[in-house]
């Protein structure tokens, strides 16, 4: 079946099998491999993308659900496609060493951006609770929490300008 949606700001039309998962569509058909698959029980959160502005696990979403929707992936987060310019949340993760192997990072970032957008004055407890659906095995979360708080502050500052 054919579906049409907005992908990282660009109108997109694709033919998909109805049983295709959004994560598979992105990775296999559209060659956007920044969205990762780390489990098969919707636990790890490596596949989080934004569907109409809300964070969702793309490994449990069927592609037909995208029809008419607005999808944002890690590749679309940093502004101009192909540029090295980064979103304030990405900058914060680099600044505070919020990543090690990088595998959980795209999902963490997408969740973090949504958290920060939802609540402007995030507390440490908010962040820890908000990351409950994203597993990281490398960092022990400490620097991720610090990064998310710093990134959220930077997003707020940018909004205020």
């Amino acid at each position: 079946m054919q579906i049409s949606f907005t992908l990282n700001g660009r109108p997109t039309i694709v033919d998909v099998q109805p049983a295709t998962l959004v994560a598979e569509l992105l990775r296999e058909q559209l060659n956007l491999t920044g969205t990762h698959i780390g489990c098969d029980t919707s636990q790890c959160g490596a596949c989080v993308v934004h569907l109409d502005g809300l964070p969702v696990k793309s490994c449990t979403l069927l592609a037909p659900a995208l029809d008419g929707a607005n999808l944002l992936t890690i590749e679309g987060l940093q502004g101009a496609p192909g540029s090295n310019r980064m979103h304030p949340m990405q900058e914060a993760f680099r600044e505070h060493h919020g990543l090690q192997c990088g595998f959980c990072t795209p999902g963490m970032l997408m969740t973090a951006v949504a958290l920060a957008a939802e609540k402007p004055d995030l507390t440490e407890a908010d962040v820890r609770h908000g990351l409950e659906g994203n597993i990281c095995r490398c960092t022990g979360y400490q620097n991720i929490v610090v990064s998310v708080m710093a990134g959220a502050a930077a997003m707020n500052a940018a909004k205020g300008e």
Partner: protein, 795 residues
């Protein structure tokens, strides 16, 4: 000289840009022209005889290209998966080493054992056809626990391994230990279980194999921590592919923790199959598949006894352990509960006599091998738990008993009674630092506050020492290693002065691209931005043993340091010629070669240019070019150590243990990048906390089914399980590594389980609790409290 960023600085990581923007290049991201998909058919039984496989239905399924089984492996005369270590018992009798076929032959020995490989046009077709394969099993009883496996009448995995015992290994002076126990004023005893763990790097294992008939070359992309070792083990010992015809690439790898430092059967099967079908093949494990095929860790059952004199001085330590090997010997399997366990039982103490017996046991479970810490967390847990037990029984303060037995700083180098000699350390300094950082003196106030709201608060200490930087090849060889354990680095200076380093370690989260660039920037005075680190490709990197055992900086960094020294030495020869001075008068500092006592100098870039454009150059005595290589074989292990303090709060209503404070003061030697070291400590600690509080791989006795087979059933630490940790370093310098480094990758995982459990026991000690097995889940603690039938906490 540009932007030199050297040792001790914390530049932001070079690798981050690609990971933050979704441009990493993991194996599962790679596509090859004409690529097919592979799926493994795995045993659903823990123990069974393979009566027959009927391929017909699977072969007839849409898109199927081939179905391969153990019979095909046998027909092609391929080898079995090799074990890299051969241990022996006290009489020198080698361990039992049954073959580990890459696809099962005759029998399956664990749930997940590979039975067949299906290759189809798409992953969906391969998976669908795998379901159609008809395999006839004659199911046998399984045995999954070590105590059960060595009992008379237990199911036997192999005809020629009586009682399932692979090796009855020992270390230490048994007679001296017995003599010391006879004169002891007190003997503390402890039985414990070190729970079985599943490493769970976030990236599942994956592989792609391709055969090029035009050049007769194979390429394997694999999620590996050591591509050169895979090339050697798989090419030379399993598939009979000459080394120069086999390229192994481990690109970006999403975490390893040991799980990816073995040669797996999947790698061999897919490489062999790629030539049979003449198409590239890709296989990506699902998480559930990883649970029944990634090598597991730990799984010990131990009885320990500590003999003390009347003042609390340790006289002798005796440890008897049954260690689970699973269904076959994995790459490092038998080495972990023996050589990486027994020699660490001295800890940071002066215990004069130690004896350790380890029975290495086969069971119907996934093969067990190294997982972050590998043997050393198990040793630390036994020792630090029994020290607490002894302190409690003798009425000696837990910190005081440790102080009375600690090796004083002045006593280093310190020869232990269990093979190893610690070169340096300051356990007392780490302890003192941790006591202050953890605000131990105000613990009583915090405990009262908890009591007021009906919670039990406890404090737990763990000191530890570990052996890492694997390893001195000669020493390892005596212990049974079947390979060398050096590392290699090539420093290629380009004509314009930029530098590319080819190194045999593998970066999968540790920040090598940054740390190693700092070493080069400091040593050669070149800009940090002008150094790139290449790893993970046997066609690009000369050789290497890979990354595990906290060895990358210790052994790889040393090779890199040596190679930069060679670059400087050659640069001095070139500079001497150009500056018309004697070589001995040339100094190299901050990226400049100068004649001592003059202002005549050449920059590093000018020397690099001269090396590649040798018009004015001593060609008679010196080759053009500026590229140097070094191999480094360490003279000893390194011995990081430290003190960890955990503070927990137990809710008696629910049994929930909350970690409220965590403090670590670690001696990791010279710190190259403090930001990265801190990150390694954080991550390591949380993995240890995971073992202590959450994680447990559980098998069903009899059927051999893994009950904790997904992220739904195996609890991984989450962000809201942790408080903010306080980590610091208290470094003494390693006396034998070029930069004084000791390694930091595993210390957190080694120190933390004992600290957390000691804290839980402390919180419950007023109820008569003397030991809690890991993981200290709410269920386990709640039951313990019910059995203790204790006064309900004050309202």
């Amino acid at each position: 000289m540009g932007n030199v960023i050297g040792i001790g600085a914390s530049p932001k990581r070079k690798e981050d840009q690609r990971f933050l923007t979704g441009r990493g290049n993991y194996v599962s991201d790679i596509k090859r022209p004409g690529m097919t998909a592979g799926a493994f058919v795995r045993s659903p039984h823990g123990h069974a005889i393979l009566r027959g496989i009927d391929k017909a239905a699977a072969l007839a399924a849409p898109g199927v290209i081939a179905v391969l089984t153990g019979d095909d492996v046998k027909a092609d005369g391929l080898g079995s998966l090799p074990c890299g270590w051969g241990i022996s018992d006290a009489k020198g009798v080698p361990m039992k080493e049954p073959p580990f076929p890459m696809l099962a032959q005759g029998k399956v020995r664990f749930v997940g054992d590979m039975v067949a490989f299906v290759i189809a046009e798409t992953p969906e077709q391969a998976n669908a056809a795998a379901e159609l394969l008809t395999v006839e099993y004659e199911v046998l009883p399984s045995v999954v626990g070590v105590l059960e496996a060595v009992r008379p009448g237990a199911p036997q995995l192999f005809d020629d391994v009586p009682n399932n015992i692979c090796c009855d290994w020992e270390l230490g002076d048994k007679a001296a230990v017995e003599a010391a126990f006879r004169k002891a004023a007190h003997v503390a005893k402890l039985s414990l279980v070190n729970n079985r763990l599943i490493g769970n790097p976030m990236e599942p294992r994956a592989a792609i194999a391709e055969y090029e008939p035009g050049t007769d070359r194979f390429t394997l992309w694999t999620t590996s921590q050591f591509p050169h070792v895979v090339r050697f083990l798989m090419g030379a010992l399993v598939l009979n592919i000459p080394q120069h015809k086999l390229r192994v690439v481990a690109p970006d790898v999403g975490g390893g923790f040991g799980v990816k430092q073995f040669h797996y059967g999947e790698e061999a099967v897919i490489t062999w199959a790629a030539k049979r079908v003449m198409r590239p093949i890709k296989w990506v494990a699902s998480r559930s598949e990883g649970y029944v095929s990634d090598r597991h860790g730990r799984d010990h059952v131990t009885e320990a006894e500590l003999a003390l004199d009347e003042t609390g001085k340790f006289l002798a330590f005796r440890v008897n352990t049954l260690a689970n090997m699973g269904g076959y010997l994995s790459t490092f399997g038998p080495n972990i509960p023996t050589n990486l366990y027994g020699p660490l039982l001295g800890g940071v103490y002066t215990t004069p006599a130690i004896y350790c017996n380890v029975k290495v046991v086969f069971t119907n479970t996934v093969p067990v091998d190294a997982y972050r810490g590998a043997g050393r967390p198990e040793a630390t847990f036994v020792l630090e738990r029994i020290v607490d037990v002894a302190a409690s029984e003798m009425g000696i303060d837990r910190v005081e008993i440790r102080r009375r037995n600690m090796i004083p700083k002045e006593a280093y180098p310190y020869q232990t009674p269990v093979l190893v000699q610690y070169d340096s350390g300051d356990p007392m300094g780490c302890l003192d630092g941790a006591l202050v950082a953890a605000d131990v003196k105000n613990f009583g106030i915090r405990k009262s506050e908890s009591a007021r709201i009906g919670k039990f608060r406890g404090l737990g200490y763990s000191t530890y020492v570990e052996a890492c930087g694997l390893a001195p090849s000669r020493f390892a060889g005596r212990l049974g290693a079947r390979g060398g354990l050096y590392e290699s680095a090539t420093v290629r200076v380009h004509p314009t002065g930029q530098v590319t380093v080819m190194i045999g370690t593998h970066n999968h989260g540790q920040g090598h691209e940054t740390t190693f660039a700092q070493i080069v920037s400091e040593k050669l005075g070149v800009s940090f931005e002008n150094v790139d680190i290449v790893y993970g490709d046997t066609d690009r990197v000369q050789f290497g043993m890979g990354t595990y055992g906290s060895r990358s900086l210790v052994v790889g960094g040393a090779a890199l340091s040596k190679a930069t020294d060679k670059v400087v030495a050659k640069g001095k020869k070139i500079a001497a010629h150009l500056l018309e001075a004697a070589e001995m008068d040339i100094q190299f500092e901050a990226g400049k070669f100068s004649v001592a006592g003059t202002d005549r100098m050449k920059t590093f870039e000018e020397i690099a240019g001269a090396a590649y454009v040798p018009h004015d150059y001593p060609l008679e005595v010196l080759e053009p070019g500026l590229e140097e290589q070094a191999y480094y074989d360490p003279v000893n292990f390194t011995y990081p150590g430290g003190c960890h303090i955990a503070e927990v709060e137990v809710d008696p209503e629910t049994g929930t243990v909350t970690l409220v404070n965590y403090t670590a003061v670690d001696d990791v030697g010279t710190v190259i990048n403090p930001m990265i070291v801190e990150g390694q400590l954080h991550g390591g600690i949380v993995q240890g906390v995971g073992q202590a509080l959450f994680e447990n791989a559980v098998y069903d006795e009899g059927s051999g089914q893994l009950l904790s087979g997904s992220l739904m059933d195996y609890c991984m630490p989450r962000a809201d399980h942790m408080p903010m940790m306080t980590v610091a370093t208290h470094s003494t310098l390693c006396t034998h590594t070029p930069m004084g480094v000791k390694g930091c990758g595993e210390v957190g995982t080694i120190g933390s389980p004992a600290a957390v459990i000691n804290a839980v026991v402390d919180a419950l000690s007023h109820l008569g609790v003397t030991h809690v097995d890991m993981p200290a889940t709410p269920n386990r603690i709640w039951r313990l409290l019910q059995n203790a039938s204790l006064p309900v906490a004050a309202e």
